[in-house]
Symmetry: D4
Subunit: 216 residues, 8 copies
């Protein structure tokens, strides 16, 4: 598996990873909240108790890439992680569509890419590695304007993952595959195409664990 004994693993992102995590850091079993991050963390501890890993959750609801950057020193670097796992961008895109009258809440794709680059470059020298996840939108109509924008942001993540040699998980593609399997409509996973219910969180959890080589 990617992670090793005594590793410190940190998750940062938006509401997808927040779900009532503890402040300032979602540390240990009681602090992880109820998001996919909590599922990943507890699955790791359940399978590797002797590793005594430390898993920290600093995801915050509503945050965009610029918000992460503002708190990067305090919330990421100060926690001295060996691994930083990041999924960000949904709110950078979403605000352009649910708040069409408030442009100060939008965060454009060039700004997004630049912010990601700065965070990655600051972090890579200090850690064993990072894990990137693309933002996503469960809308299955690829012609939808918001879906198109989200795909463009996801493409940025994949490009940067390749550029910096970082393990990158295409979460959007995972969802598309999941729905193309049939059986479940996006409304069986969540009503707003963003916040997964308990099933959707397990879909995310399994995807992440497989990507990092979790031994079942």
């Amino acid at each position: 598996m990617l992670f090793e004994k005594n590793d410190r693993i940190l998750f940062i992102g938006d509401s997808i990873g927040d779900y009532d995590r503890e402040r300032p850091v979602g540390d240990s079993a009681d602090g992880w909240g109820t998001s996919y991050v909590a599922d990943v963390a507890s699955m790791l501890q359940a399978a590797y108790p002797a590793y005594r890993m430390r898993i920290m959750n600093v995801c915050t609801s509503g945050h965009q890439s610029r918000d992460l950057e503002k708190r990067w020193d305090e919330d990421v670097m100060n926690n001295r992680p060996d691994w930083v796992c990041m999924m960000i961008g949904i709110n950078d895109v979403w605000r352009q569509y649910d708040c069409p009258d408030r442009p100060e809440l939008w965060y454009g794709i060039e700004d997004y890419e630049a912010a990601l680059c700065r965070m990655i470059e600051k972090t890579l020298p200090k850690v064993k590695g990072m894990v990137l996840m693309t933002p996503y939108f469960l809308e299955q109509n690829k012609e939808d304007e918001m879906r198109k924008t989200m795909d463009a942001y996801g493409a940025v993540v994949k490009k940067l993952g390749e550029k910096y040699g970082i393990l990158t998980i295409d979460i959007q593609k995972m969802w598309d595959d999941f729905f193309s399997e049939g059986g479940l409509h996006p409304h069986a996973i969540c009503w707003d195409c963003i916040h997964p219910n308990i099933i959707g969180r397990k879909v995310l959890c399994r995807t992440f664990l497989k990507a990092v080589g979790y031994e079942w």
Copy 2:
């Protein structure tokens, strides 16, 4: 305008018209709740104070056509309306997609049509008239499975409206037109493609008022 002095006007449907209406009947200004029905009712009273109409809201969250039928005598007939305005069917369809493992919560299209017929036939002889509205799904991808089903249910409403000579408002078409105008993405109206925010409720309200000949 369609409605006349002293008319008793009743709205029945699901959560789209409920939004905290009073029980058992959302009567008078304090009881209408905050849905589009409340907007319609207050706009009517504001423009026609001397009509002294009575507007009653008996929409109930989560209800399907079969639920309406069960309470039709008590909630509709007993209130002796001159007009019955009904929008129903969203939950008949929705449960097929958000509860794929609970078929007892689905309500099929033949059952839906039959239930509508029974309610209409029971009502028409006792009222001045009815107003039908199609159910809707804000999803703009007409190939989406749930959208296709919703369109089929909407077609039933339009067919029955024609058959019985009832004023019928194609709410789904109205939404499609609204979004095709550009400017606002469905996420600017609601996050779950079903429950409109204050803007969306006004869109519904204007559509209804125009259809009944409201004099601005």
Copy 3:
């Protein structure tokens, strides 16, 4: 219509426009609250989605003209509105009658006029225009002391509207006309002759929309 594409429209006043608006600014659909301002804003967005106007509500319960003046820079000028819509004065008058033992809560008519002038003169050079509304008291007895005082304050507003060439809506007259139509007694609109219920808010909303040339 008075307002144009991309216009920024700001409403300022007292509790009549507040009704649980968001702080510091009642911005966008979720922030407008439930007052007539929220009705106006949502009616505008529902009819002109492609205009992508921005409508801001900074009305605050209990405020008098002097309170508005104190926060004018922060709450009005800093928000860079194209249009400023203002209804103020009810509390300037009301406190003289419901707090007869606390003169520090009263605000006299000369002070009122002077405050209005200063706000108008500071604003006009920076905006496309303003909309003024007179304060009102639903009491239909024009000999009532408080009604007489309110009428005097309303006269100040109309005088200033004329002096500065500002679109001015005589809300008090609108109410008098409304009640003279018969059908509804003031107690059907509100119990304290000040805070309108859902019907009364729609009366205000329609009056405002007509005055600005809203196309139904």
Copy 4:
């Protein structure tokens, strides 16, 4: 004073006397609530401790004369009062004006008079005496429709008081006198012209106590 040692005194009416009284009977110091009835009761006990009177409050918010009649046996006769003090009628009138669309909530003047007669005739043979108070509306405009109706109902009370030889207090006149003294506008007493604040409750209390010969 009208009341004597060991007398049982019962107050019945609407919200004016309710103000959080205890259920089913507002008995003793902790149960009288905070209305003028509570003021009267405590003033009586404070001045006549050795009388050991029992004072019972069965006023109920929103009640009309017909509601009182329905519970007269249980709430009045069963409590075996020596004196019954009644102020009723405000809601019989008010509903005609604040619920213009719900005639089932109105209670007409003939019905009102008949109900009063039945209650009085049932009671007089069993008690030392009754005290009647007229309903009131603080509106000082005697041409207001609701005020006119209220005056008519008050006239019924005075007529019956005379007919049956019952001590009758003209509360409406008392208010009119009070406001004609100047100093306080009705809005200094209450905002809805019905429910008195702490000052208004003392005005009622003093009027009642004077009428029954309270020795200061």
Copy 5:
């Protein structure tokens, strides 16, 4: 009556006058709370509406004479009263008996007298007059230790009232007289011998009003 047109009357003391008064000053009808002070204030306004007196309540639960002195400038002098009515000392005494292990909460009789003198001397030159009330303890056993101490503190108040020529009400004597009349045991007025219920508050209210020449 002692008070005159436009007089500003301030009450200061402990919990006996507090009972949920508004902070920082219990001003006007909504702010007086539910203590005997609220009863006095509303009785005054009810009888003398044209006087337009201002009545302010700054009594605070748990306070002793030293606490009053600390806030005298802010809570008394800054409010520019014409009359200052003060009842203080119960907590100076009580803490000696209910907190026998915490001497820092006691306030001795010499300190008490000195604090009262300083407050009186600071105040008299700036006001029309003061009204002093003795502290009290409803315990009717004059040999009880706490009652003896309370009587000694009361004697200080009466001595100072005489020395400075201030209207002084012997509240303890009033209670003793009240109970010697028979009819009510102290437990019918309050359970802790300190905080009067609604009847006891009216006893206090009547005593105060009589002392200041209230015209019934």
Copy 6:
């Protein structure tokens, strides 16, 4: 000690033993509440764990002897106690003084004695024994009317204890001795002379334990 291995011990009485006990029976550690009964029960279990006694608390706030009698079969006999410990009578007396206007709440001394006799005679044949405690009033003035009445009721308990040969604890005398020791005034134990604070509950607890031969 009085109690033996596997004994079932039941406490019945009023609020002095209630203090939030569990319903219907305050069974086991989590159900005893926080009264002196809970202190006695936990002290017994702490010292005699191997006895595995069962201690049940069925004391109920506000109850008088007649209330106990009404539920004696259900709450006492059905629980098959080996020992019944009872302190009752405070409310039989108290209501005569704090509710002087409600004689239906009083319970006279002959009725009290008769009720006690009936309960004792019904119980003695079915149990190993009973423990009686006198009711009490912390008022140290033996001339106080309520104290005199309470002493009379206590005398009844002692008389019956002797008559039936039941272990009887004179709680009133215990309190008198306690206060005569000096050091603590009744207000250091409770403010209403009835409900002991944590210290007073331990005074009761120690007295009971000593009386039953608890081995420290």
Copy 7:
């Protein structure tokens, strides 16, 4: 995997599977609660969306085998499961140790075995199969009295599993193995040796999923 397309799978047991499940049946994603059952159910749906299985949770906190038996018809048979998964017995044992004074709360091992037999025999003919899990106690001291009793109850489950040819998971052994791996002390999983935290719930979940042949 053990389960097949369209299978109906029901979990029954005590608080270990309850954790806020919905009543009467914890059906679908929103109703499973937060226990290991919810983890198992969501992991199954995440991996096999096209199976459209239905997973029902009827575990109830505090229940013993006899409680399950009482509701077996209503909660198990009426739901027509294809598979019944049961873990029961912890409370049968626990009450013997945490309520040593209340034998009516204990459930002996012969009764336990008999109840299990009756439930199994009633069920097997109507289902595809059952899954049994042993009760457990995290105490690692096998000489502890409660642990010894729990092991005896677990032995019953294993015996019956063999007798009836039912897939049986030895949960107690799983925990013992887990702790013998080192790394985590039982207090890192739960504080009361019974209710697992999020990590412990995942340990249970993984054990169950492995046992049923879940394809990772």
Copy 8:
């Protein structure tokens, strides 16, 4: 008894002594909370009212020895105790086992001993004496890792008690003796082996009182 007239006695420690004590100091009857400290304090006052001792509780949930040291000046020295009673160390140990992934929450045995020494040496010259209590863990398996660590910390306390000639109570041994008596399993005292229920608190209370020579 160890304590004398007018002595000031202070308890410091962790949650075992906290149980909702008042902040900043749990002073007097209303402030001690519900822990064994509250039981000890109230038993002392109940038996020695004339001593007028002052008993202060500054125990704080979750605290370790290092936390006590940080607040020693403010919470201990500033309160000028004659006696300091301390039980600390449970959390120093516990965090090593329930938070295996957060070493910053552990406090090692050398640090523990050093912190204790510093606190003792700072205190002894200023007080009449101290009372030390060992930390404990109800786990009866002496081979359990956490129990072994707790015993080692307890040995430190006993060593220091001897070294400085301080009265030291071996609480762990007391518990072991208590359970070896039979009758009660640790789960009858608490579920987490740390926080005693009402019985366990009395066990602690009796042990403490015996150790200080309390005269029953």
